[in-house]
Symmetry: C2
Subunit: 361 residues, 2 copies
Amino acid sequence: MIVHDYQTHEDQAAAIFESWGMPEERARASARVLAWADLHGIESHGIAMLVEYDERRATRPINFAPTPHIVQETPVSALLDGDGGLGHATATQAIDVAIAKAKSNGIGAVSVRNSGHFGALGFFTTRAADGGLIAMAATSVFGIRVPPTGGSQARLGTDPWSFAAPSADGRHFVLDMATTTVASGKVRNKIVEGQEMPPGWGFDTSGRPTLDPSVVMNGGFLSPLGGGAETAGYKGYGLAAMVNILASCLSGSTLITDPMHSRQPKGLDVGHFFLVIDPNLFRPLDAFSADVQRFSDDLRATPAVDAAQPVQVAGDPERAIKAKRSAEGIPIGPGLYQRLKDIASESGARWLFEDQMSRAG
Amino acid sequence: MIVHDYQTHEDQAAAIFESWGMPEERARASARVLAWADLHGIESHGIAMLVEYDERRATRPINFAPTPHIVQETPVSALLDGDGGLGHATATQAIDVAIAKAKSNGIGAVSVRNSGHFGALGFFTTRAADGGLIAMAATSVFGIRVPPTGGSQARLGTDPWSFAAPSADGRHFVLDMATTTVASGKVRNKIVEGQEMPPGWGFDTSGRPTLDPSVVMNGGFLSPLGGGAETAGYKGYGLAAMVNILASCLSGSTLITDPMHSRQPKGLDVGHFFLVIDPNLFRPLDAFSADVQRFSDDLRATPAVDAAQPVQVAGDPERAIKAKRSAEGIPIGPGLYQRLKDIASESGARWLFEDQMSRAG
């Protein structure tokens, strides 16, 4: 493992984004989202994504200097056009519009079209929870990886969903989940690091279980949350469809089931959905966030099957990693390190990682 | 199996509700929700619930003649107090308030406190989809059945979630799911009919898998969607917590993790959450619902693993059963039939089922 402090980590990502033609402010916004994910241990959505973005920009035009703009709005809603850029800065703008509308009018719903990959959803819903607000987020994705229950071909993606709510003690409830058993990023990282997957994560091209992440990433399938029909995989499939309806159908973005034909999108044409609710519509924030804390603490107090592994609440594992990495730095594996070095070299980005004291582990 | 037409089914449920002291209009609203569930094949939330309500009213006061009232509201929200009644009529009122606010102002969010069991969530979200609107629904529940991931005691319930969206062809997308692998109603029906459960639905008191539904219902646990931690059961656990935050923390209803102590509720004190969104905020309804149809049809067109079992979309299985039962009547098992007959006899309700032509199967 090679370790850098948070700032160097973010700066290196920003340097690569800038080398692709992204204006400084936008590059910084994108880098902040990716570095946030790594800081919280969500490596599948951290700077490892730069490898995938680099591959995508070779096959699909990405507007690295877009001008996102609001197409239509009401006191409680906005439709935002991402102008063909990557999604991080656009989605940050979108959640901030939703937050502002929720603070003024109780609720803010923002639909985004013509955007791109935006990183970890938890970045955006946490931003609302930090402001004392409830948030939901969903996005369409580019990769088609998951068959509908009973289907023999992939039609859906990792189709993630996030929900966050403020807790009085600051340990906000932050659920951020792919509606698959695992996200493709976790499978991809297994390939980069040369490891097998645990059982149950994926299927080969004919739908049989496999432990080989490269089989899943090369024609095989991810399973929807729940797995097969008898263990209610149709619920994970249903949640994936919900995510696509909110992110794609509502914004008018490309349907994942129809990626190339009807719309003839020029770019990635990813859609997002954000909903922010002010709890004061129903109860004072203090009372609501005290109940979120009480509920979370009650769950944490459940006697554990294994005393060494106390029960956690959504957001806890990421907070623990954030505390550790804030103090000790953010590690990346040697495979990813080399890929990023190659990418930076090819695009002429400044290479900052070697300026930092690093150690092998 | 004993079969009756829809109207007799609803009338029988209404007669039992009225025999418990429920005013005629409210009894009809409750019966309509239960009969809707049976018509759509959701027997776990049909008139089988009368057996559970009958047990509950012996242990907890239920206000059978409540006066639900709006405590506070804005153009896009309302907090409704259910006055200690069962939830069916109260929730119908709540979704109708949410629908009206969404039609006027784009979004309607209604939080309900001091309510009771309200039946199948799909009844309410379908009501919005029928009006060209998107809907989400969640409710807290009375039964504590599910351990948080890594916990050795139950702290959560079946904690259901529903999402519906209108499709141009009228075959609306209607996801209605317990965040457990299965709902407790399905386990309960296995007991009533004397059948074993499929593997993976539940655990015994020490957390080991069991096929015996009575073990699950007597001290054992239901599993969260996803099962154990390695197959991402923490996602189902996270969704269950989301449902409780929206339904209980937001409304100020009793927390499932603290059922008796802090609030000292007099009745069931169940909380609900409804959110309705007008898609016209973002795109014309015609364009949105056409995309929902296109997306759904694309999924249905996926080549099936088993050609005899075509791929379906959330709402399809229930629609198929509705069509069949509208024509042929609604069956109930002999165990449930006898229980209902006993309940009707004890409370002096009119017994309508025998007036109907019935057949044994």
